[in-house]
Amino acid sequence: MSEHTHETSEHAPAGDGHGEDHGHINYVRIWVWLVILLAVSVAGPFLEVFWITMVTAFGIACVKAYMVAKNFMHISLEPRFVTYIVVTALVFMLLFFAAVAPDVMNPEGTQWQKPSWIGPPE
């Protein structure tokens, strides 16, 4: 990590010397694809088929997120540790879900019962 970019100011191009080789990316084309995917995700529920709605809603959301992270945030051009810390945060999110979801989704478990004031899941 260097401090020199804090002086990257007067009439100097931005950037810290790496990861600036993204002139080949056609950003407008990426945006067009993102808009097309948005249209598909909106159209999906009109078919009124559950699994199609799930795929067009959440599957496409994952694809759009990947496209934004890769092409707009240039995460693949950053040092490897950036990907590692992002993945670590996502893993912690999954751990949180796995640990808490059973208590939220079930009315009772081994040696515990959800208090009546919370109410059973509908």
Partner: protein, 177 residues
């Protein structure tokens, strides 16, 4: 990697935990309460889709601003950042109208747990949009004078993350009914 970029990525990772925890909580409650689909049916998909379009477009102008800054073209980067700010303002304006309609229809943050999640998640996201817009204005003013051009990329990374969060909020709150 510069200190500034490291800091922004650290912010992004922290935000993943914040928004990730909120969205994970929403998903587990949603799976446990099938009747939330009836509540979600009252959200306006077209308004949500329009705001998604606005954010995707603002991400395009943000990344084009970064490209201009990389080429040393500060004034062009500044113009594109102001275009991004216009997107932020549009998003917040549409959100304000949408919330007004929902509150007038009787769906408030205290109506039930679905609407509590809805206003908390969308409100937290809108706060990030407003913060991003303010920071972007400061960066744009400097960029127009060829100052601190590296900051254009930094605010861009943050802005794309705000876009990413909405990409997941949209299907969760507006599509899955």
């Amino acid at each position: 990697m510069s200190t500034g970029k490291l800091a922004v990525w650290w912010v992004v990772v922290s935000e993943i935990v914040i928004f990730g925890g909120l969205l994970a909580s929403y998903i587990m409650h949603r799976l446990a309460h099938q009747d939330w689909a009836e509540q979600a049916a009252h959200t306006n998909t077209w308004i949500g889709a329009f705001n998604t379009f606005v954010l995707l477009t603002s991400s395009l102008s943000a990344v084009l601003a970064h490209k201009a800054a990389t080429e040393g073209n500060g004034p062009k980067a500044a113009k594109l950042l102001w275009l991004t700010i216009l997107g932020a303002a549009t998003f917040v304006g549409v959100k304000a109208v949408e919330w007004t309609m929902e509150i007038q229809a009787g769906y408030t943050i205290t109506s039930n747990t679905f609407w509590s999640f809805y206003y908390t998640a969308a409100g937290l996201h809108a706060a990030h949009v407003i913060a991003g817009g303010i920071i972007m204005a400061i960066v744009a003013i400097d960029a127009a004078k060829f100052r601190e051009l590296h900051r254009v990329e930094l605010i861009g990374i943050y802005w794309h993350f705000v876009d990413l969060v909405w990409i997941f909020l949209f299907p969760l709150l507006y599509i899955a009914k």
